[in-house]
């Protein structure tokens, strides 16, 4: 069930009405049923995977809690890691590794070995379960935290199952930590007008970003990225800029809807985006983009590898490997690995050249803290990110190579032949929507937008809400486009 579907539009009010109508002690059960229904309406059978993850991690958590000695807990941690990562590997990565191994074998055989061996690529006909990367990471964080004694093991199987499957964030995050979300399932939330209002407003803004901006831009982006041999230069540049905003609006829109949904019921989910394109360096970008994932990798991969408390080369290695794995998390394809390599490379290079850049700034008396300096940093960071998005979006390595090559073969004749980007209402709406987004993000960057809204007369506030709803209805694209992050 997609958030931007009629099915969800019917499902959600039913759940909310039932949630507030039921006595608090039964609500977890209703939410668990609703969450399983939410997942099963995509593919019924795959709920088994969530149940397996839940059962294994609940069991491991309980067992670990009963053991005071960390080394004795290890086997349960391994059990949890193997079962969760095993499922993830089987459903998401098996075919990728099998095909890649086969290609490597073919290459070696043809170039060096010359064995007279015939082999078939062994692949599994399995559909990638929606959200598997999200819920396995969420439940893994629980067992790792219990193992490290950072969180207590949950005693209530039902509430733990709800933690794993909570529908607002089940299929595309934010990836919650047990210490943050689990205790909330033990609390009772009354109907709070201000909280509900805030949740609804967040949902509306999320829908605006998804339906009006992301899905509108998707039409141009898909046309160019799905026909890479037909477009070049200007088209590729515009499509790639559009994709940068599409993926931001798509994913942050989803997060806003998820956070808003949960907030209406009283649950607070972690912030997942903080105006990422205002980042002045790549490190800051990752502190603003998909925060729940980047902090996950920081806590459960980068720091256990040694973080920055090691010799320099090892620190660079830790950074680099964390981003490569992050790339692989996003998808089982070489394009995602390249995307991760680029971000890891940016970061390592950034640290390596920090000293030189500081000296150059001093030499040329550049004030990097001035408004102009920050703007330049922001623009450079934005363009590095945008370049990496090419690999993220391209349909395969061949396409990404063609896109990069064709992008730089800029031809002025392109400008005379702008069939795809001809001035049309769609084109103008897209640009205006991006501008509106940037303005709102800019205001929010300086102060909470809520303060501006609250300062307005009530009538004006209502008018703004109604206007946003009307814009969604009239300018939204309602032909149900999947959220991009569903595929991860």
């Amino acid at each position: 069930m997609l958030f931007n579907s009629l099915e969800f539009l019917v499902f959600f009010p039913m759940v909310i009405a039932l949630y507030f109508a039921l006595p608090a002690k039964y609500r977890w059960f209703m939410l668990l049923l609703a969450s399983y229904y939410f997942y099963m309406s995509w593919k019924v059978e795959y709920v088994v995977l969530i149940i397996i993850s839940t059962a294994v991690d609940f069991f491991c958590g309980r067992k670990m809690a009963a053991l005071p000695d960390k080394s004795a807990r290890k086997k349960y941690l391994y059990l949890s890691l193997v079962s969760n990562l095993g499922l993830l590997f089987l459903f998401k990565y098996f075919n990728f590794f099998s095909r890649s191994a086969s290609k490597i074998f073919d290459y070696l055989n043809q170039s060096f070995l010359h064995w007279n061996v015939l082999h078939d690529t062994y692949t599994l006909k399995l559909l990638l379960p929606v959200g598997i990367s999200f819920y396995t990471f969420q439940t893994l964080s629980y067992t790792i935290d219990v193992y490290n004694g950072k969180t207590k093991a949950e005693n209530h199987l039902g509430k733990f199952a709800l933690f794993v499957s909570f529908f607002p964030q089940l299929v595309a995050g934010p990836i919650e930590r047990s210490s943050h979300l689990l205790p909330q399932f033990h609390r009772e939330f009354e109907f709070d007008y201000n909280r509900v209002k805030e949740g609804l407003l967040l949902m509306i803004w999320g829908f605006f970003k998804k339906l009006v901006i992301a899905d509108r831009l998707a039409e141009y982006v898909n046309e160019v990225y799905n026909n890479v041999d037909q477009y070049q230069g200007f088209y590729n540049v515009v499509a790639t800029y559009f994709f940068a905003f599409q993926i931001y609006c798509d994913f942050s829109g989803y997060s806003d809807i998820a956070i808003g949904c949960a907030l209406i019921m009283g649950f607070s989910l972690m912030q997942n985006f903080r105006r990422p394109y205002f980042a002045t360096n790549i490190r800051e970008f990752w502190g603003r983009w998909h925060i729940s994932l980047s902090t996950w990798f920081r806590d459960y991969l980068y720091i256990p590898l040694g973080g920055n408390r090691v010799v320099k080369w090892r620190w660079y290695y830790n950074l680099f490997i964390t981003f490569v794995v992050s790339g692989l998390w996003h998808g089982a394809d070489w394009t995602f690995i390249v995307w991760g390599v680029l971000h890891g490379g940016y970061l390592v290079l950034g640290y390596m050249t920090q000293g030189i850049r500081n000296r150059l700034s001093k030499l040329f008396r550049l004030n990097t803290q001035s408004g102009l300096g920050k703007l330049l940093d922001m623009l450079v960071t934005f363009h590095l990110v945008v370049f990496a998005w090419i690999f993220f979006r391209a349909n395969g390595i061949r396409d990404s190579y063609a896109l990069v090559r064709n992008t730089f073969s800029f031809d002025m004749a392109d400008l005379n032949n702008l069939n795809l980007f001809r001035i049309s209402s769609d084109w103008i709406i897209s640009l205006l929507a991006i501008l509106l987004l940037v303005i709102i993000d800019f205001i929010t960057e300086r102060s909470k937008i809520r303060h501006y809204l609250n300062a307005l007369p009530r009538l004006m506030r209502w008018a703004l809400v109604i206007l946003t709803l009307l814009l969604i209805v009239f300018l939204g694209k309602f032909e149900e486009q999947d959220f991009l992050y569903f595929q991860f």
């Binding site: 009629l6 099915e7 019917v10 009405a17 229904y37 007008y193 509900v196 009239f474 300018l475 032909e479």
Partner: protein, 349 residues
């Protein structure tokens, strides 16, 4: 004050929840109950139902009542003198079905089945080999590759057995489609839905992706399947080998029908509306699929009816302007040609 505000919103959720529960249950009926459907909503072309834009909302008389006669359970396939198979052209609910027109004109029993899978169907209904009879198969141009191309053949959804138990009612397979139909046709939302779409069309030029092209004068709307990037499109560049392959597969079907059931296949490739009227919107591209198919069929001696030329030469429109199917005029032309072919068949046998 805040408490009061909260109460209206809370009760608002209760009311919304109840309404949604009602909708949740309603769409799970086989057919959404008529009491909640706008009167006369079915009397429009299917392309209106894909857009709900006023411009495409011309009324077409609903002739669904003929279906009762066409699918009368007492009809016996073995007693029929002519069989008709195929797609929605023979099924189209806004015209009297072709099989019934044929039956009434010839005064001979015609049995119709809405299926492309003739051999399987005849097996299932225990059709017995008899004296030579004619089987007319209508296949719309855009579905030829799905049925006859070795490369593009695919299992069409229509033959899939659907579950109809409580489980499938709860986890509705095509829930989104049903909710959309409810939104479009129910008395609660139809007016608003069609208003919004019409305003979007008039002000922003909005068109749903399923009908990407239309012409205002004369009015005609086209479905995406004929103009997309797929093999169904009139832009798809067919290799000669691929056309030959399709014709070979048709010949195999013809021979099997003759051998197993003594049935003479009369193939009626139905032109896409876009094939006939693409010039109206200044688009001269056409992949010549039909003329090339006719040629291939001719070469193999596959009995067929070439509708393209008479449709192009017709002095009136042969398709409904807001539907992908033919109108009475189109049927008349086809009927005339079929009668001629049947007469020649009778003389031969």
């Amino acid at each position: 004050m805040k408490e009061q505000k909260g109460i209206w919103l809370k009760y608002g959720f209760y009311v919304a929840g109840l309404c949604c529960l009602a909708v949740f249950i309603l769409v799970r009926f086989q057919k959404i109950p008529e009491a909640v459907i706008v009167d006369g909503i079915e009397d429009h072309g299917e392309l209106y139902h894909m857009s709900y834009i006023d411009l495409f909302g011309e009324k077409i008389e609903d002739k669904r009542h003929y279906r009762k006669r066409m699918y009368d359970p007492n009809r016996d396939i073995n007693k029929a003198e002519i069989l008709t198979f195929g797609d929605s052209f023979f099924e189209f609910p806004l015209e009297k079905p072709f099989s019934l027109r044929l039956e009434d004109t010839l005064n001979r029993k015609v049995y119709h089945a809405n299926s492309y899978y003739i051999m399987e169907y005849l097996d299932t209904v225990n059709y017995t080999k008899d004296k030579p009879k004619v089987l007319i198969l209508d296949v719309v141009e855009r579905y030829f590759p799905y049925l006859f191309s070795t490369k593009h053949e695919r299992f069409l959804d229509q033959n899939r057995v659907r579950r109809n138990d409580l489980y499938s009612k709860i986890f509705l397979e095509d829930a989104e489609k049903k909710y959309t139909a409810f939104l479009q046709k129910s008395i609660f939302s139809h007016y608003l839905y069609s208003r919004v779409n019409t305003i979007k069309f008039n002000t922003l030029g909005y068109l749903p992706s399923v009908i990407p092209k239309y012409n205002r004068d004369p009015l005609i709307v086209f479905h995406i399947e004929s103009v997309n990037d797929e093999v169904t499109s009139v832009y798809y560049e067919w290799e000669d080998d691929e056309i030959e392959d399709m014709c070979d597969n048709i010949l195999i079907l013809k021979d099997r029908l003759k051998e197993k059931y003594n049935l003479e296949l009369l193939l009626m490739p139905m032109p896409n509306p876009y094939t006939i009227y693409h010039n109206l919107i200044g688009d001269s591209r056409y992949n010549d699929l039909l003329p090339r198919l006719y040629k291939g069929l001719e070469k193999r001696g596959v009995w067929h009816i070439a509708l393209m030329a008479p449709f192009l030469a017709a002095d009136e429109m042969v398709y409904h302007r807001t539907d992908t199917h033919w109108n009475k005029k189109g049927q008349d032309i086809a009927l005339k040609l079929v009668m001629k072919e049947l007469a020649s068949f009778d003389t031969r046998n």
